[in-house]
């Protein structure tokens, strides 16, 4: 804590030094040594106490601030997991209802078949297929259950929810279970990268939908983990016709959003620079923007 607050400590020491000087100078001008000596010693001690108080007070404020931030993150985490649990519970209910209907349907079909009424059987089958088997609910978080790294699961749930609520067409795939990330990578950096790229995709999709091209907005996301431990993340989104150059979007301050600072992909570049085993590629083709990152394990090629 002390090392973090170098500036603070230095300022306080400086303050004490100036107090000492002031006391000393005043002492030179006043002749009555013994009284002044006592008074000013007391003053100096008070200053010292004051400094110590200020220092610990500020330390306390800092600790509180950090705790608040952590609590906020925990709350966010919690909210997302609750939403996901709610979604799972709803799916459970739907499955139960389906099983119940399934039994009824089979009984009804059996009766029709026993009566030899083939057309009735076909009609009933059509009707049941339409209503029961096309449930949208099971598709919202498809494959999220294959992500077993908490922070990554949390951010992807959050972003998929956002896309769902905005009515943006999306598809998330994670065909193989992801149990861990390559050791040398800080999870939070990856969370940041996923967050920034998803936000960019969502912004572009919102713009497309705002232009009246609702059917064109499309986001595709993939997580992939190879046996060797490498991690791959890819996100593609449809773009508007305005030809964006790959060079431009990586520069600081570039943005297609109004009144926005546009730090996104430049930040991603900064994170990439920290890791020699991280490789990021951008491709723009046929109105699709593609962001693709591979993270090798340290002893990989």
């Amino acid at each position: 804590m002390v090392s973090n607050n170098k500036k603070l400590v230095l300022s306080l020491v400086g303050y004490f030094y100036i107090s000492v000087l002031v006391v000393f100078i005043i002492n030179v001008y006043i002749n009555n040594k013994s009284v002044t000596a006592i008074i000013f010693s007391i003053l100096l001690v008070l200053q010292l106490l004051f400094m110590a108080l200020i220092f610990y007070f500020i330390l306390g404020l800092q600790k509180q601030y950090i705790k608040n931030k952590e609590q906020e993150m925990e709350k966010n985490h919690q909210r997302q997991l609750e939403e996901y649990a709610g979604y799972l519970e709803q799916s459970e209910d739907e499955l139960r209802a389906f099983r119940h209907d399934y039994r009824n349907m089979f009984n009804s079909l059996k009766v029709s078949a026993q009566e030899g009424n083939v057309q009735e059987v076909i009609d009933k089958l059509d009707k049941y297929t339409q209503t029961n088997l096309n449930s949208q609910a099971l598709l919202k978080y498809k494959d999220v259950n294959h992500v077993h790294v908490k922070s990554i699961k949390s951010i992807i749930i959050s972003k998929l929810t956002e896309m769902y609520n905005l009515g943006i067409k999306y598809n998330f795939e994670c065909r193989k279970g992801i149990y861990s990330l390559p050791d040398h990578v800080d999870e939070l950096d990856l969370v940041r990268i996923i967050g920034i790229t998803c936000d960019n995709a969502i912004e572009e999709s919102k713009a497309l939908m705002g232009d009246g091209k609702k059917n064109q907005a499309d986001i595709q996301i993939m997580f992939y983990s190879a046996e060797s431990g490498e991690f791959e993340y890819e996100i593609r989104n449809k773009t508007r016709k305005s030809k964006i150059s790959v060079k431009q979007i990586q520069k600081q301050g570039f943005t297609t959003k109004k009144n926005h600072q546009g730090l996104g992909l430049a930040n991603v570049k900064q994170i990439e620079a920290k890791y020699p085993d991280m490789d990021i590629s951008y491709t723009v083709e046929n109105d699709w923007f593609d962001f693709y990152i591979t993270i090798d394990t340290e002893d990989g090629e």
Binding site: Y224, E232, D279, S281, T283, E285, T294
Partner: protein
């Protein structure tokens, strides 16, 4: 042009139904558009296992086939599936057009793309007339690609993005230059652009169709719009301009002779 259509689904009745739907789709296409009259496409084989398709493709040496595959080819999750089959077919028949007919829970376009390249998908659980409409769309795209590939010859430029092998038609490349990122190059094509690991000298050595015009750039002369010898610039159809180095002036002049379409300003 002969286009054999091959179907594979471990459920016999579904495979047969798909065959019927494909025939309906092709009937619709011929009714609507006489462009496809010269394409002789018909369902050549209906298979139910991985091995059957492999055997047929090899025995008949199929080239330019159109394949409609289910992804789950057996109840056993360890057994070979449609993705493995697609991988085999692509190696065996580079002109092949593959379409996955599958349920939504197996829909993972990016995961399959990194292994076998871009593929078309048809959702199995759609109502019948939507499936037939989708079949018309995918067959239309497959026919177009086949005609283009046969005309151009499959001259592709291959490069790696991360773990994914990407192929692009040589003819669509404008130029490749050093990227602002270390060890990477930046490629501009008629459809867009891409960044990947590479080295200009290596690209020049490995690809005879690319011409090196400076320390940091190779160009595809087929796509050059204009050259300005005094300003030492080369311009491309999208308006991009690159500068070539003094010592490559003669090489560029030779290109002007070889490709009379290039305008000089």
């Amino acid at each position: 042009m002969k286009c054999p259509i091959i179907i594979c689904d471990d459920d016999r009745s579904l495979a047969d139904e798909l065959s019927g739907d494909i025939n309906s789709a092709m009937q619709n296409m011929q009714d609507d558009n006489s462009n496809y009259e010269q394409i002789d496409a018909k369902v050549a084989f209906i298979a139910n296992t991985f091995e059957q398709v492999v055997g047929y493709t090899v025995a008949k040496d199929i080239k330019g086939g159109i394949y409609f595959l289910d992804i789950e080819l057996s109840q056993n999750s360890e057994a070979k599936n449609g993705v493995d089959l697609a991988e085999f077919i692509k190696k065996q028949d580079p002109y092949s057009q593959i379409i996955f007919v599958t349920a939504y829970d197996k829909y993972a376009p990016l995961t399959y793309r990194r292994r076998i390249g871009a593929i078309d998908y048809i959702n199995k659980s759609l109502p019948r007339d939507t499936i037939i409409h989708r079949l018309e769309e995918t067959l239309h795209d497959a026919f177009d690609r086949l005609t283009n590939d046969y005309k151009a010859g499959v001259k592709s430029f291959t490069y790696q993005i991360g773990r994914r092998v990407q192929k692009v038609n040589q003819d669509s490349i404008y130029y490749i230059e050093n990227s602002l990122t270390q060890h990477k190059v930046h490629m501009i094509t008629e459809n867009g652009e891409s960044e990947f690991k590479g080295n200009i000298s290596q690209l020049d050595d490995d690809n005879p169709f690319l011409i090196k015009v400076s320390q940091s750039c190779v160009v595809n002369p087929e796509n050059i719009d204009a050259v300005n010898i005094s300003k030492r610039t080369i311009t491309f159809p999208n308006g991009d301009q690159i500068v070539f180095s003094r010592n490559k002036k003669q090489i560029v002049k030779n290109l002007l002779n070889k490709y009379p379409d290039i305008s000089t300003k």
